[in-house]
Amino acid sequence: MRDKKIQHNLLNTQMANLGLSEDTLPTLETWQMLLKYVDRTYARAEMANRYAKQTVDQLIERIRTQTEAINQRSDVEDELMEAQILNRIIGAITSTLKPDEILQILCTELAHFLKLPYTSFAKVEEKNQQYRIVAEFSIDQRNGSRIGELLDMEGERPKNLFQGSDEEIFVANDFIEEDDQGLRRQLETISMLIIPIHIGTKRIGVLGLHAFRPRRFTPREVSMIHKVAAVAGQSLHKAQLYEDLKSELAQKEVTETALEQARDEAMEASRIKSQLIAKVSHELRTPLNSIMGFAEMLQLGVFGPLDTNQTDILNKVLLSTEYLVLQVNDLLDMAQIEAGKLKLESGYFSPSDLLDRVETSMSQTATQKGLNLFMTLDPRLPELIWGDIDRIYQIMINLVDNAIKFTERGSVRVDIQLNEPNRLILLVKDTGIGIPANQHQAIFEQFQQSTISVPLKRRGIGLGLSIVSQLVDMMQGEIELESQVNQGSTFRILLPLKAPPTYIEMGSERQTRTSA
């Protein structure tokens, strides 16, 4: 209809241009020409029209695209801003390892970000599973703190709490029902969002975000708060681990301190014991000297002649006194060894001299008991060897004295042998009562004696072998014991052998010196 009208108008215009009117009839040729013209013009108009429409469409499309782009840019900006805030909150929450601080930051930051008048954290109480407010942020301090209050969760109907897409997040948006109970009454909340915080899978409490006017928590906000809650959970977990570790360390420290104290006390006790023994040993020497001195003077006839009986008794007094002196010496040695004060005084000495000294000291005792005392020296030994002769002598005296003590008949044999490559063996072998295998270890401990009975007068206080063992240790040596009940005992002391350097370099010279 519209097209026809345009066609008609165009025709009229063209006709006027040609000087024609509706009154004058044109020729057929003119008609044809006119029609052709009208057709062409119409087509052109149609084309223009189509073009215009297209342009407008494109324009609209462009506007639409640009509008969208602008909208998108605003989204990106929003997200960016949100991410920055989230980042800041998370940064703040993770900046401390103190649970109280984490919770405080959480409440404060969320209140500021979401422009809320009141936020709180309520902790689950282990014993009754109730929620107690332990941290809060309140924009109006005049209302007073609610810390310590239990959340009135019982009055909350699920529909109020669970109005969210995620069942773990309780959202109550624009809540304006006339229902006046539960949290809304307690906290005077209109809109609220309650979100649980977990450590691992365990719910430790809920974060409460409250508005006192209707307010909509958008899905984007909810999602963000969810993220913050998750981070807070992790941060609290870390804090808890840290606290645990700290208390564990503190506990350990307490234990260590106690151990140190116990050790110090033990060391102090040991020190006092050693001091006491040294003191006692020292104090015993003066009266011992009087007993021994006067007895010897009697024996020497300083106070006149003695009959046989008196001499016999005096000899017993002297023997017991000598034995007592030995015990006192042992006691002092032990105290000094324990206090780490006993020092070896090493030098070169002749093993032959050593054996002579042992023989001189012990032969009388052995003979009195009717025992043979055999002494042999390995001819391969160097003329001089390195060591503390007094202490090695002490070791041997102890062993030989024991051997005689525990042997009723037979012999005691003392050998000094060379043991390849560089070891010295001090061997003391007897044909005595022997030592049961289960006591081989114990006899080297302090105050230990074989349970096999020995005459009372020969009993020491049991320090002898303990001292031997300690001295051998100090000399980096070893003790070997072979013994069975009624089969005798063999003690072998193995010591590192150090001969003078001249022996190694000038072996022939030794030969000369030995023969000389």
């Binding site: 040294a278 020497r285 003066t286 000297n289 006067f294 003077m297």
Partner: protein, 128 residues
């Protein structure tokens, strides 16, 4: 047997026994006497130092633990006094550890209990 007993008409060399324990002074006195000395007993360190200003003994038997002035101080005084360069010193102590320490300054260190015969023998050896 080892002691050199001087004939009665010859003066005996002087020996000081410096010891505060009563029983020991009588034992030591007898042993040193039997070794041929004229023995003087001194019971405290202070008196000992004073006496050493007046006499030149051949031998001093010196206890370490003494009232007023200890044996170590007396030993040091003897060893720094040229007049006493020939005086022999036997140190007597009940403390083996202290004995080791003074080993070099004394001629002999004897640890108590000291055998009567040993003291007599050593004293006699110094009586020349």
């Amino acid at each position: 047997m080892h002691s050199t007993v001087h004939p009665q008409n010859q003066p005996r060399p002087l020996a000081l026994v410096v010891e505060d324990e009563e029983h020991l002074t009588s034992i030591f006195e007898k042993a040193v006497d039997m070794a041929g000395y004229h023995v003087e007993i001194i019971k405290d360190g202070h008196v000992a130092l004073k006496r050493l200003d007046e006499v030149v003994p051949q031998l001093i038997l010196l206890d370490l633990h003494l009232p007023f002035v200890n044996g170590e101080t007396i030993l040091n005084a003897i060893r720094t006094n040229d007049k006493l360069s020939k005086t022999r010193v036997i140190l007597a102590t009940a403390d083996a550890r202290l004995g080791d320490f003074l080993d070099e300054k004394a001629d002999v260190v004897l640890i108590k209990p000291i055998r009567f015969s040993l003291l007599k023998e050593i004293a006699a050896r110094f009586n020349v």
